[in-house]
Every structure is written in structure tokens, then in C-alpha cells.
């Protein structure tokens, strides 16, 4: 079903490309240095936006690859910047960047696998920690499965244990929290649903209850919030949209109203903000554009709802096989 978009504004593609290209030039500003610790993720967000905008070469690939590789540590994981401690968040961004730039072969998959597996704890229950300091979260459960899928080493993880962990984070509203006991939040819903898609256990989801909860995220302004009573934010176009996409319920929200909201949050000088009138940043530029790609806004590449990477990249790597894990009854 193709949606005809009746939007008031246009996507300022060229401006966003410029915005992303200029990010590394803003070195006079404190902001640049205060976000150094997540530089690798910043690059991932910028690259996803560029790929979806069909301008993948707007940034220098060789330079990026060499920088990302410099972020790998002795333990096999990646930090957010050179000489920063390894963490799953930055290992994920690094691997995703290398995948998009067709440079996964430049990293030793077994080394990265070993790092990820070292973060799995088995007692009292299976959890995956973000780093050796012990924080566990459904985000990390997803990331572990995703990273290992790039290297085809997923079966070395206790997948059943991870599924039970995610199941433990499921709540009365059908949503998922950050960990067992945690309140439902759209970002955690995405990571939990994506994790279950990779693990082939989408069946444990209360599809109707969760789809309703996600659909209710759309506010009168067309934007989406992350949980009831909260403000709309452009990034939920991705967190909510991708979960609905995997659940095959994209049509339970109004795509053109959402698109209008995202477009209205653009800065005419380039970049997208969390909501209209706010300062743009690369994170919201990424997830705003990815959210538009999900609802098939014209002029954008298709995006994979599990990996948040261009579908063409996911297919090239044979990682679209998660689609066969979607229960048959969902496609009816």
C-alpha cells in the first residue's frame, strides 16, 4: 500500500547532507569536544542518514574506516573514540559502520565475538552487560545478537537465556522496559522486538496489545512520544515506527501526519531537531530520516527495521533472514 504524502514541507536533503559533512568542522565549539566520547556513534548516525538520502559518499569512507579501527581495544571491543574503554554501544556502531562501508573484513570477527560473549553472564539469570562494569539492559541483549549476526556467530550466545531475559522485561501493557521490572518505553520496545526478531521468538510478544500501545504514541501534532504523558520527539519516528514495522502494523499510525511532524522539525540551515524550533543534532537527523524511510517517504532508500541500516546493505550481508522469523499469521 503506497502512501501518498500530503506534506506541507519538503525534505531539505541537500541541507542535511551539508549539515552532516560540517559536523567534523565545528571544532571551535565546546559541544564537539563534549561529545567526543560517542564520536563513533555520531559517525554511524551521520552515515545512516547519508545512505538513506542516497548520498553515501558525502563522507570519506577510508578516513572513517581507519578512525573506527583505531577505536578497537585490546579486549576486542570498541570505544566511542580512540583510547576510550570498550562498550557494546560503540562496538555496535563500529560494526554497523564497517558493514555499511563494506569493510567488515578489516576486523577479526572472532575477536569481536569473544568480546561480546565475555559480557554475557549466566547467573542468576542470563543477561548481557554493556561492558565489564555490569549494567544490563534489553538494549545490550539486542546489540549482542545483532553484532554476532554480522559474523555468523550468534549460536555461541545463550540465545534462549537472552530471550527469557527479554521476556522478563515484558510488561502488562504489552511493552518492554530496560530490564525485568523496568517500565515500558518505546526505545526499549524497539530493542526488545528487534532482539526477538533476531532470536526467532517474536511469538512471545502480545502483538495486539503492543501494537495498540505503540499506535497510541501518535499525538494530535502527528509526532510520536516514547510512553504515555510524554512529549513528542522526532527520534520516536524510528523507535516506534520500526517496532510497528516488524509487527507488521505500520498502518496503525498516520504516516503523512508523522512525516509532516518530522519535516517541521528540520532546521532550514540543515539537520533535524527533536521537535520544531529546537537545535538540530545528528542523532535526530538520523532517526528522523530513518523514520521517514520507514513510512516510505519518497526519495529515500529503504531501511531495515531491525538493524537501522539500509536494506541493500542488510541484504548484501544476508542478514535479512530475520524476516523468515516473523510469524505467518502476522502477514494475513
Amino acid at each position: 500500500m503506497t502512501e501518498t504524502f500530503a506534506t506541507d514541507a519538503k525534505l531539505l536533503a541537500d541541507k542535511h547532507v551539508e549539515f552532516i559533512q560540517n559536523l567534523d568542522k565545528k571544532q571551535d565549539g565546546l559541544e564537539y569536544w563534549m561529545t567526543e566520547h560517542l564520536r563513533v556513534s555520531g559517525i554511524y548516525w551521520g552515515l545512516v542518514a547519508l545512505f538513506l538520502l542516497r548520498r553515501p559518499h558525502a563522507l570519506d569512507h577510508e578516513q572513517i574506516i581507519s578512525y573506527v579501527l583505531s577505536c578497537q581495544n585490546a579486549d576486542g571491543g570498541f570505544g566511542g573514540h580512540t583510547n576510550h574503554d570498550s562498550h557494546l554501544l560503540y562496538t555496535m556502531s563500529s560494526v554497523q559502520i564497517l558493514a555499511m562501508l563494506n569493510a567488515l573484513d578489516q576486523v577479526d570477527g572472532l575477536r569481536v565475538t569473544k568480546y561480546v560473549l565475555s559480557l554475557q553472564t549466566k547467573s542468576p539469570m542470563t543477561t548481557v552487560c554493556g561492558d565489564k562494569w555490569g549494567e544490563h539492559d534489553t538494549r545490550f541483549a539486542f546489540i549482542a545478537l545483532a553484532i554476532l549476526s554480522f559474523f555468523n556467530t550468534q549460536d555461541q550466545l545463550d540465545v534462549n537465556g537472552v530471550v527469557e531475559y527479554v521476556r522478563g522485561a515484558m510488561n502488562y501493557d504489552g511493552g518492554f522496559g530496560s530490564k525485568p521490572g523496568g517500565e515500558s518505553h518505546a526505545a526499549q520496545v524497539y530493542t526488545s522486538v528487534a532482539a526477538l526478531a533476531l532470536a526467532g521468538r517474536l511469538d512471545i510478544i502480545d502483538r495486539d496489545r503492543l501494537s495498540s500501545w505503540l499506535a497510541e504514541r501518535q499525538l494530535p501534532c502527528g509526532g510520536l512520544n516514547g510512553r504515555p504523558q510524554k512529549l513528542e520527539d522526532v527520534c520516536y519516528a524510528w523507535w516506534v515506527g520500526s517496532a510497528l514495522d516488524i509487527l507488521q502494523r505500520r498502518h496503525w499510525i498516520q504516516a503523512s501526519k508523522l512525516a509532516n511532524f518530522v519535516l517541521s522539525a528540520q532546521d532550514e540551515k540543515g539537520g533535524i531537531a527533536d521537535r520544531p524550533g529546537d537545535v538540530a543534532d545528528v542523532y535526530h537527523t538520523c532517526f528522523g530520516i530513518a523514520g521517514l524511510a520507514l513510512v516510505r517517504y519518497p526519495g529515500l532508500e529503504e531501511v531495515d527495521p531491525v538493524y537501522c541500516m539500509p536494506r541493500s546493505v542488510v541484504e548484501r550481508l544476508g542478514l535479512d533472514k530475520w524476516q523468515s522469523n516473523v510469524p505467518e499469521s502476522w502477514s494475513q
Binding site: D28, G29, L30, W33, M34, E36, H37, L38, G79, G80, N83, H84, D85, H87, D131, W133, G134, E135, N171, Y172, D173, G174, G177, S178, K179, G181, G182, E183, S184, H185, R209, S211, S212, W213, A215, E216, Q218, G222, R227, P228, Q229, K230, D233, R249, H251, W252, I253, Q254, K257, D267, A273, D274, R275, G277, D278, V279, A280
Partner: protein, 330 residues
Amino acid sequence: HGRRRQQERKPTQDELQQAKQRVDRFRALNSHVMDLKAKSVFTKDSLDATKRLLEQNTELHTVWNYRRTIFTSLDEWQSQDARQQMLDGELKFLLDIITKNIKSYWMWNHRMWALSSLPRPEWQRELALVAKLLALDARNYHGWDYRRFVVAQLKDAATDKYAVDIQEFAFTTEQINHDCANHSAWHNRSKLLPEILTQRDEDGQLQALQTENDLILNAIYTDPDDQNAWLYYDWLLDIQKSDADRCRLLRNKIAMIRELLELEEDSKRPLIELVSAYAELERLQSGSVLETEKKECLETLRRLEGIDPYRVGRYTDMSRTLSKQWALAA
């Protein structure tokens, strides 16, 4: 998040100078700390350097890691009393800076590490602290996650673990009585109630469920548009002991909805709940829903497409599904 764009004008020479100095100072301190870390310097001085840097940027998780490593490498760490003192100081430091970024995962993680490493942690004090924070921001999930962490520790140390659950349950009651739209409190309650039920006998369980029912009905009547209240009500149905109980509650739900619709007939939430109540009733007890009621459901879904157009997709899907299930024309 949430920073307003401002009218841009060219900065003055003075402002440019000041901005450059800020950047240079931060970069210098950052390089200094990272250099100490690379050289594995674990001294009071390096501890102090990390503190000064973290005060400026609470999100430097590598520096929090380094700070923890310094603590555990100091000689004092081996003495219970010295360790207690150091970590009490650390907790105070964290309290001072948490207001800079109340949603910082790294700071909350560090606090948990400090509490877990304390020879004599004061869990009750932490509970009181979190209660204060939640009074300011009732929906802060970092606060609630931390509260659950503290309660788990209290339970671990307690001889009467059930009493801890009861205390926590009472805390959620307090929160809800203060504001029955506090979804985070209801959520926490949904995790505690099953535990509480297992500790009670049959009569006690029925009583608890009845109390819960009354509480949620009050929330619904207070604000029939509160989606969370209805979700909680449906969950109470899930944890009933029998289908007969579920059907009884569904009939009560329908009666309540009819009351609400008399006050406002185009009320979205009661309307959608009416349809789902009948659908569930028919699913539990085939034939219990009348033909007229089934037709009313389909008509209601049609009306909802107009009342709540953003969710048209959901209503048309429901129409199709129910029509098929009930063998009715859509």
C-alpha cells in the same frame, strides 16, 4: 534534547576568545586525565583530576571506569573504615552533580557501584533519597530502576522479605493516591502485586484483587481518557483465578463504560474499550455476546474511524477480524 534554537548573530571578539578558552581548558583537562589513565596512575591526585573532569562532563564513562579503578587500587581501599569514608564522600559527590543530568545512565551506574562496594551501605537512606527525587519527577525511570535496585538489596538482607514487598506496595499506593495518573507507580505495582498474592491465602487474594479493582476503577472514573488505567484493568483480568471471574469483570467493565458514554457519547477510550470487552467476552464464553451487541461493536469501530482518524488502520483491522470471527458482514 529540548534545546531551543536561538537567533544567531555574529559573536563578538570577546565571546570568541572566551569560547576558545573554555574549549582549551576542557581539552587540556581531558588530555591530562586520559594521559594519567594510559599510564595507569592510581593516586589521590589522579582521583582529583577525574573529579574535576566529570564535574564538567558527566557522560565520560571511560573516566568513571578509571575513577573506580583508582579507588580500588588505593591502599585505603583495603581498610573497611577508610573505604566507607571514601565511598560516603563519593555518594555525596554524586548527589551534588546528579542534578546536572538526572537521566545519566553512567552516574546512576556509578552510584550503584558505590553502594555495592560500601562496607556499611545505608539502603533505607537511599530509599528516602529516591523518594525525594521521584517527588520532583514521578516518571523518571532511572529513579524507579534505582529504587527497584535498592529494594532488591533490602530484600536480600531482610529476614522478612515479604515485609519489604508490602512496604514498597504501600509506597506505590501513596504515589497513586497523590496522583492516580502516575503510570510509573502503577507499573511498579504491577510487578509487586503478583508477589503479594502468592503470600496470601485464598480469601486474602480475593480481598487484594477487590481492593485493586476499586483502586483502578477510581483512576478510570477520574480520567476516562487515561489509556494506562484501562491497560491495568485488563491486566487485572489476566491475573484473575477463573474465566468466570474474568467474564464477571468484563460485564462490570461494560456497565461502567455505558455509564461513561452517557456522559459523553463520543469518548474515544471508552468506545474502544467497549469493543475489546465484548470481543474478549465472546472469546472466553462463545455465544455470550448478543447479535445486537456484536453489530454495535462493528458500528462503534466505524464511528471510531471518524473520532480517532490517526488509528484508522487499527479499527479497520479489528472490524475485519471480528467480522470474520463472528461471521458477520463487515
